[in-house]
C-alpha cells in the first residue's frame, strides 16, 4: 500500500532528530515553539509509523529490508540497514504513541521550568534514537542507537542539574548501563569476527539467517550471553538493576517515557531481535544462554517485587515494579515465549506510562511531594487521576479479562509452566503475581484512600493537558487487551508470523482462574494489611508502615534495597577506586622511579666515566703540561742574558772536552 515509507524508513527516527536539533538552537524563552516542534515531530513519526505498520498487516511474516553502505575501510564495506517486520512495526507504534502522550503531558508538567526548551530537545532526541533502535537491521546500528538512548537517558535523569542527587543518579545510570554495554560491544565484535557481517537480514547472508548462524558454531552461546549483558544493563536486570530506581531523580515524564515504557524495554527487545542467536542449537527449546536469561529474569522479578513493598517514594515503587515486570518479560523470552514477552512489553509500555504519568499528576497536585505516606484521600480531590491510575494498577496487577496486562501475564505464566527444564520459575512467577498485586494495593491505599495527610491538604486535579494523555493511555491499556485475548490472539499470530485465527474455546483456561485467584489474594492481602495505614492505631504510630511494625528487620532489609547498593559500594566501587588510586600512586612512585632508576644507572655510569676522565686521563695530560712548563722554566733560567755567564760555560765546556780527550788518550 505504501511502499514509499519502506524505502524511507530512516525518516521515522530522522524527523525527531531534526526537530531536536532545531529546538536546541532555539533561544531559551521560546517555550511554545519548542513544544510545538517536538510534538509536531512526534506526530509525524507516529503517522509514518502507522503507514509503515499497514504493509506488515498484509501478509504474515512480512519483512522489508533496506541496506546501505556506511563506509569502506580498506577493501571492506561496513553495511548497515533498516528493517521493517512485525516486531519493529508494533514497537514503532507503541513508542510513537506513548511518546506523543508523554510529550503532551510534559507541556503541562514542565510548564514552569526555566529549561523547558532544552527538555523538549532532549525528549525529541531520545524519541529519534529509540525509533531508530527498533528499526535497525544491523547490530552495529542498533548499538549506536542503544548508546544514544543511553545518552538521552543520562541527560534527562540529570536534567535538574542543580540537584547533586540528580547528577549522581545520572552518572550511576550511565556507568552501570555502560558496564552491560561493554559486554554487548564484545559480543558484537565476536559476532562480527565470526560471521563477517552485522546485518540481521541480508537476503540470506545476514547473521540471523541460517547461513550466517551456521558458521557461528559453539561460540554462539558466548556471543548470546555477551549481548545479553547489554540487555541486563539497559533493562535493569539483576545484578545491574541498581541504576533504575535512582533514575527516578529525573522529571516524571522522563521516568514514564524512558525508564518505564520504552528505553528499559529495549533490553527485552534486543533479546527478541537476536533471538536466533539464543535459540540456536536448542534441545526442546532449552539452551544454556536461554537458561541464564530465565534465571536472571526470575531473580530480578522476585527481588524487585519484594523491594517494592517497602518503598515509600511513589516513583520508586513504580520503578521497582518496572524492574520486576522486565524480569517477567525476560523469563518469557527465556522459556521460548518471544511473542508473549513482546506482548507484555507493549502492554506494559501503555499501562506503566499511564501509571507514571498518573504519579506525575499526583506529584504535581501535591506540590512536588513524592512520599506516599504523606498523601492519602486523593480519590476525591483528583478523580480523573484516581480512576486512570486504578485502571493502570489493575492492568499491572494482572486482573484478567478487561485489562491488557492480565492477558499477557497469563500468557507468560502459560509458557513458563511448560518450560521443560524446570518448574521452579513458574512457581516464582506465581509468587511474583501475588507480590505485584500486594504492593500496588498498598500504594493505592496510601495515596488515594484514607485520611488526607500533610501533602494532600491542598492537592488539586491537574490541568486538562495532563489529564487528557492519562485518559488516552487508560483507553489504550484497556483496548489493547482486545488483540491479546487467547480467543483471538491477533497480536500473537502477527508477531509469530502465522495467519490470524479465532478460537473461543481457548478463552477459558485453568491459568485464567489461577491468576484470578492469585491477583485476588494479593489485593485482599493488601487491603487487609494496609486498611489502617497512615492512621493512628492503638499499638502503632501513624507514620509506621504496618509491615515495618510487624517485621521491622525484614522491612529494613527491603527498604534498603537488600543492601545491594551498599554491597556494591563496599566491593566493586571501592575496589575500582582503590585501583585508580593505586595506578596513580604506581605512576608517581613506581614507574616514574623505575624509569628514573634506569636513568640513575646511566647517571652513575656517567659519574664513573667522568671520574676516569677527571682523575686518569685529564690528570695525566695536566701533569705532562705542568712538567713541560717546569722544565721550560728551568731551562729558561739558564738564559740569563748574561753574555759572560755564557762565555764561562763555554770555557768550562771546552775545558771539560779537553780533559776528556786527554783522558781518552
Amino acid at each position: 500500500m505504501s511502499p514509499w515509507i519502506i524505502d524511507h524508513l530512516w525518516l521515522i527516527p530522522g524527523v525527531p532528530f531534526v526537530a531536536s536539533l532545531v529546538i536546541l538552537s532555539l533561544p531559551n524563552g521560546r517555550h511554545k515553539s519548542a513544544a510545538s516542534l517536538a510534538i509536531a515531530g512526534q506526530i509525524a513519526a507516529l503517522v509514518m509509523s502507522f503507514f509503515a505498520f499497514l504493509p506488515t498487516l498484509q501478509q504474515p511474516g512480512f519483512r522489508a529490508v533496506q541496506n546501505f553502505r556506511w563506509f569502506t575501510f580498506g577493501d571492506h564495506a561496513l553495511r548497515m540497514g533498516w528493517l521493517l517486520d512485525p516486531l519493529a512495526a508494533v514497537m514503532l507504534m507503541m513508542i510513537a504513541l506513548v511518546g506523543l502522550c508523554i510529550f503532551i503531558f510534559s507541556t503541562g508538567y514542565m510548564a514552569g521550568d526555566k529549561n523547558f526548551v532544552r527538555f523538549f530537545a532532549y525528549l525529541s532526541f531520545f524519541s529519534g534514537a529509540m525509533l531508530g533502535l527498533v528499526i535497525s537491521n544491523s547490530l552495529l546500528l542498533l548499538f549506536i542507537c542503544w548508546e544514544l538512548v543511553g545518552l538521552a537517558s543520562y541527560l534527562l535523569i540529570g536534567f535538574w542539574i542543580e540537584r547533586p542527587s540528580a547528577a549522581a543518579a545520572a552518572k550511576k545510570a550511565f556507568v552501570t548501563t555502560r558496564i552491560g554495554d561493554m559486554g554487548f560491544f564484545l559480543g558484537l565484535l565476536w559476532l562480527y569476527g565470526r560471521s563477517g557481517t552485522l546485518l540481521f537480514y541480508d537476503s540470506g547472508n545476514g547473521c540471523l539467517e541460517s547461513a550466517g548462524l551456521a558458521v557461528l558454531g559453539a561460540s554462539v552461546t558466548f556471543i548470546a550471553l555477551l549481548i545479553f549483558c547489554g540487555a541486563v544493563g539497559k533493562s535493569g536486570q539483576f545484578p545491574l538493576q541498581v541504576w533504575l530506581p535512582d533514575a527516578m531523580e529525573g522529571p516524571t515524564p522522563v521516568s514514564a517515557l524512558i525508564h518505564a515504557a520504552t528505553m528499559v524495554a529495549a533490553g527485552v527487545f534486543l533479546v527478541a531481535r537476536v533471538y536466533p542467536l539464543f535459540s540456536l542449537g536448542a534441545i526442546s527449546g532449552v539452551t544454556s544462554s536461554l537458561t541464564v536469561v530465565v534465571w536472571v529474569g526470575v531473580t530480578t522479578a522476585l527481588m524487585a517485587a519484594l523491594i517494592a513493598i517497602a518503598q515509600a517514594d511513589i516513583k520508586r515503587i513504580l520503578a521497582y515494579s518496572t524492574v520486576s515486570q522486565l524480569g517477567l518479560m525476560m523469563v518469557s523470552l527465556g522459556v521460548g515465549g518471544v511473542a508473549a514477552g513482546m506482548m507484555h512489553l507493549l502492554a506494559h509500555g501503555f499501562f506503566k506510562a499511564l501509571l507514571f504519568l498518573g504519579a506525575g499528576s499526583v506529584i504535581h497536585g501535591c506540590h512536588g511531594e513524592q512520599d506516599i505516606r504523606k498523601m492519602g484521600g486523593l480519590r476525591r480531590l483528583m478523580p480523573v487521576t484516581f480512576s486512570t491510575y486504578a485502571i493502570g494498577m489493575m492492568a499491572l496487577s494482572g486482573v484478567p479479562l478487561f485489562f491488557s496486562g492480565g492477558w499477557t501475564k497469563e500468557e507468560i505464566l502459560h509458557v513458563t509452566a511448560h518450560w521443560p527444564a524446570s518448574r521452579l520459575p513458574y512457581y516464582f512467577l506465581l509468587a511474583g503475581v501475588v507480590l505485584t498485586a500486594l504492593y500496588m494495593t498498598r500504594q493505592m491505599i496510601y495515596v488515594f484512600f484514607g485520611h488526607r495527610r500533610a501533602a494532600s491538604e491542598h492537592a488539586h486535579e491537574s490541568p486538562r493537558v495532563m489529564t487528557m494523555p492519562l485518559i488516552a493511555l487508560a483507553i489504550c491499556a484497556i483496548l489493547f487487551g482486545v488483540v491479546l485475548t487467547p480467543a483471538w490472539p491477533w497480536l500473537y499470530d502477527y508477531l509469530t508470523g502465522s495467519p490470524a485465527h479465532v478460537e473461543f474455546a481457548r478463552l477459558i483456561q485453568p491459568t485464567l482462574f489461577l491468576s484470578l485467584a492469585l491477583v485476588g489474594a494479593g489485593v485482599a492481602l493488601g487491603i487487609w494489611m494496609y486498611r489502617r495505614a497512615g492512621m493512628q492505631d492503638r499499638q502503632r504510630p501513624a507514620d509506621t508502615d504496618p509491615l515495618e511494625f510487624a517485621q521491622p528487620q525484614l522491612f529494613r532489609f527491603l527498604e534498603n534495597k537488600m543492601w545491594i547498593d551498599e554491597l556494591y559500594a563496599r566491593t566493586i566501587i571501592a575496589f575500582s577506586w582503590t585501583s585508580a588510586r593505586l595506578s596513580d600512586w604506581m605512576d608517581r612512585n613506581f614507574w616514574d622511579r623505575l624509569v628514573r632508576g634506569f636513568g640513575t644507572i646511566g647517571q652513575v655510569f656517567g659519574m664513573f666515566t667522568a671520574s676516569v676522565d677527571e682523575r686518569g686521563i685529564n690528570a695525566g695530560v695536566d701533569e705532562t703540561t705542568v712538567g713541560t712548563r717546569g722544565l721550560g722554566r728551568l731551562i729558561s733560567a739558564a738564559h740569563s742574558g748574561q753574555i759572560q755567564t755564557y762565555l764561562g760555560v763555554i770555557a768550562i765546556g771546552v775545558l771539560a772536552l779537553l780533559l776528556f780527550y786527554a783522558w781518552l788518550a
Binding site: 556506511w70 563506509f71 569502506t72 575501510f73 580498506g74 577493501d75 571492506h76 552495529l140 548499538f143 549506536i144 548508546e147 544514544l148 545518552l151 543520562y154 540529570g158 542539574i161 542543580e162 540537584r163 547533586p164 540528580a166 547528577a167 549522581a168 545520572a170 552518572k171 550511565f174 556507568v175 555502560r178 558496564i179 561493554m182 560491544f185 564484545l186 565484535l189 565476536w190 562480527y192 569476527g193 563477517g196 575500582s576 577506586w577 585501583s579 585508580a580 588510586r581 593505586l582 595506578s583 596513580d584 604506581m586 605512576d587 614507574w591 616514574d592 623505575l594 624509569v595 636513568g599
Partner: protein
C-alpha cells in the same frame, strides 16, 4: 605539482624568520597568516593526491650527503597526508588558544615545519632531523612559557625523548652498517626476510622501539607525559597531544612494523600486554587526578594505547591480509586523527576554564551548566567524543581497532574494554563535578563562550560530528595506503 611538500615545510620557517626579524607587537595574526598559507598548501596537496594509488606520491628527491646515504626525499602517502592535514588543523587551533608573544609564535611555527617534515620525509636521516627539530621548540615552549614546575617538566620531557631518540639513532646506524640504506621503502622491502640477523636485530629493534615508545608514549615510558602536559601552556599541550604524540605512532607504522615483522611476532604478546597496561592503568590513574589537565593527559595515554593495541595486534597476527588487519589499520589511522582533534579540543576547553577561574582543580568548579551552558555543551561533546560515544568521531576508530584486534587477540581486547569503561567513568565524574550541582561561588562571574572562542571550537566540533556520522571522506584519504600496508605486513 612537485614542490608543494617543500613549500609546506618552508612556509612556517619563513613565518618564524619573519617573526624573529620584524619587531611586531602583535605576532599572532602573522603566525596565523602563515598557518593559513600552510593549510592552503596542505589542501592543494590533498587535491593533487591520487587517492586510488597506494604508492608514495608527489616525490621530491635531491642528493644531499651521498656518502652516508642521506638524501632529501619527501613524498606523501595516505597516512602522511592524514597527518599533514591534522597538523594544519591543530597548530592554528593551538595558536587561537592563547594570546602569546613573538617568540612563542615563532617557536610554534618552527615546530610546525618540523612536523610537516617528519610526516613527509621518506629517508631516515632527513626524518630524524625533523623528528629532533620538533623537540627543541617543544622544550623551549614548556621551559619558558610553562606553568608551575616547568623546569622539571621540560627537562624530564627533553631527557626522556632525547634518550629515546639516541637509542633509535643507534639502532638505525646498526641497520645502515648492515644494509647500507636509509631509504624507508628499500628497508621495508627487506624487512620481511629479516633485516638483520641474530643479536644485532634485537638490539636495533630495542633501540628503535624505545625511541618510539617514549614518544607515543607507551606504558611504562609515559611518566613524562602528565608532567609535561600539565606544565605546558594550553596551546603547547594541544600540539603535544594532538600532533607530537602522533609522531611516535607514525614511527611505529612507518618503521617498526615493516622493518621488524619477525621480532614483533615473536614478542607480540608482551607488546600487547604493554598496550593493555596503557589502556587500563592510564584511565584508572586519570580517575584519581584532581587536576583537569593531568586527567586529560592520562586519557591521552589511554587513547594512544588503543592505537598501539591495533598495531601490535597486526604485528602479532600470523594471518595474511584480512578484513581484520584492514579494520585494525584503518582504525588506528582514524584514531590518530580523532584523538588529535578531540584531545586538542579538550585541552582548549580546559584552558578556557583555567583562564576564567585561574585554577584547574576539578573541585574548584561546580554548577557551571547554570552559568555557561554553551561552554558546558561544547565541552560535553568533546568529552563524549573522547569516551567513544557513537555518532561522534571517537567511536569509529575505536570500533575498528577493537574489531580488528578482537579477531586476532581476543583475550587482550576483552581486557582493553575495561579501558573504555573507565574512560567513561572518568568523564562522567568530571561532568558531574564541573557542570552540575549548585553553582560554585568562585564561578559566579564567568562569561560564557566568547565569539572568538566559538570561532575556534565550533569548526572542530562540527568536524567531530562529520567524522562520526559520515566518515567516508576520511577513509578515502588512506584506504589505498591501508591496503598496501596490509599486504606489506602480511
Amino acid at each position: 605539482m612537485v614542490g608543494l611538500i617543500s613549500a609546506l615545510i618552508v612556509i612556517p620557517l619563513v613565518g618564524a624568520l619573519t617573526l624573529f626579524i620584524a619587531p611586531v607587537k602583535n605576532a599572532r595574526p602573522i603566525a596565523l597568516l602563515f598557518n593559513v598559507l600552510a593549510a592552503c598548501d596542505a589542501l592543494l596537496l590533498w587535491q593533487h593526491f591520487d587517492i586510488g594509488a597506494a604508492s608514495v606520491q608527489l616525490v621530491e628527491r635531491h642528493a644531499w650527503i651521498p656518502a652516508i646515504g642521506a638524501e632529501y626525499l619527501v613524498g606523501i602517502d595516505g597516512l602522511s597526508l592524514l597527518l599533514v592535514l591534522l597538523t594544519s588543523l591543530i597548530i592554528p587551533f593551538a595558536l587561537l588558544a592563547q594570546r602569546m608573544d613573538r617568540g612563542f609564535c615563532a617557536l610554534m611555527l618552527i615546530m610546525e615545519s618540523a612536523l610537516y617534515g617528519t610526516f613527509t620525509a621518506q629517508n631516515f636521516v632527513l626524518w630524524f632531523l625533523f623528528y629532533e627539530m620538533s623537540l627543541i621548540p617543544a622544550f623551549l615552549l614548556i621551559k619558558i612559557w610553562g606553568g608551575e614546575n616547568r623546569d622539571r617538566a621540560a627537562t624530564k620531557f627533553f631527557l626522556y625523548t632525547f634518550l629515546g631518540s639516541v637509542a633509535m639513532l643507534l639502532g638505525f646506524l646498526g641497520i645502515y652498517l648492515a644494509r647500507g640504506s636509509f631509504d624507508f621503502a628499500t628497508l621495508a622491502s627487506l624487512g620481511k626476510n629479516g633485516l638483520l640477523a641474530g643479536k644485532l636485530a634485537w638490539l636495533a629493534f630495542a633501540g628503535i622501539f624505545l625511541g618510539l615508545a617514549v614518544k607515543v608514549p607507551l606504558f611504562p615510558f609515559h611518566t613524562w607525559l602528565p608532567d609535561a602536559y600539565e606544565s605546558a601552556p594550553t596551546g603547547v599541550s594541544m600540539v603535544l597531544t594532538g600532533v607530537l604524540s602522533k609522531m611516535g605512532v607514525y614511527g611505529f607504522v612507518r618503521l617498526l612494523l615493516p622493518l621488524f615483522p619477525n621480532e614483533i611476532r615473536i614478542i607480540g604478546p608482551w607488546l600487547l600486554a604493554l598496550a593493555i597496561c596503557s589502556i587500563v592503568f592510564a584511565p584508572l590513574a586519570a580517575w584519581a587526578q584532581s587536576d583537569l589537565k593531568r586527567m586529560v593527559a592520562y586519557l591521552s595515554v589511554n587513547h594512544l594505547g588503543y592505537c598501539m593495541l591495533g598495531l601490535f595486534a597486526i604485528g602479532a597476527s600470523s594471518l595474511g591480509a584480512s578484513i581484520d588487519t584492514h579494520a585494525a589499520l584503518s582504525g588506528v589511522f582514524m584514531q590518530i586523527f580523532n584523538h588529535g582533534i578531540t584531545a586538542a579540543a579538550l585541552f582548549y576547553l580546559v584552558g578556557l576554564l583555567e583562564q576564567r577561574r585561574g585554577s584547574r582543580g576539578i573541585g574548584d568548579y561546580g554548577g557551571l551548566m547554570q552559568r555557561t551552558p554553551l561552554l558546558c555543551g561544547w565541552m560535553s561533546v568533546a568529552m563524549f567524543s573522547s569516551l567513544g560515544l557513537p555518532g561522534l568521531n571517537g567511536f569509529i576508530g575505536e570500533f575498528l581497532i577493537f574489531k580488528g584486534s578482537f579477531a586476532i587477540a581476543a583475550s587482550f581486547t576483552a581486557i582493553a574494554v575495561i579501558g573504555l569503561l573507565v574512560t567513561a567513568i572518568v568523564f562522567v565524574r568530571a561532568m558531574q563535578a564541573l557542570f552540575s550541582g549548585p553553582l560554585a561561588e568562585s564561578c559566579g562571574a564567568f562569561p560564557d563562550l566568547l565569539p572568538r572562542e566559538k570561532f575556534a571550537i565550533i569548526p572542530v566540533t562540527l568536524l567531530m560530528f562529520a567524522i562520526g556520522l559520515a566518515p567516508q571522506f576520511m577513509f578515502n584519504i588512506f584506504n589505498a595506503t591501508v591496503n598496501h600496508m596490509a599486504r606489506l605486513l602480511a
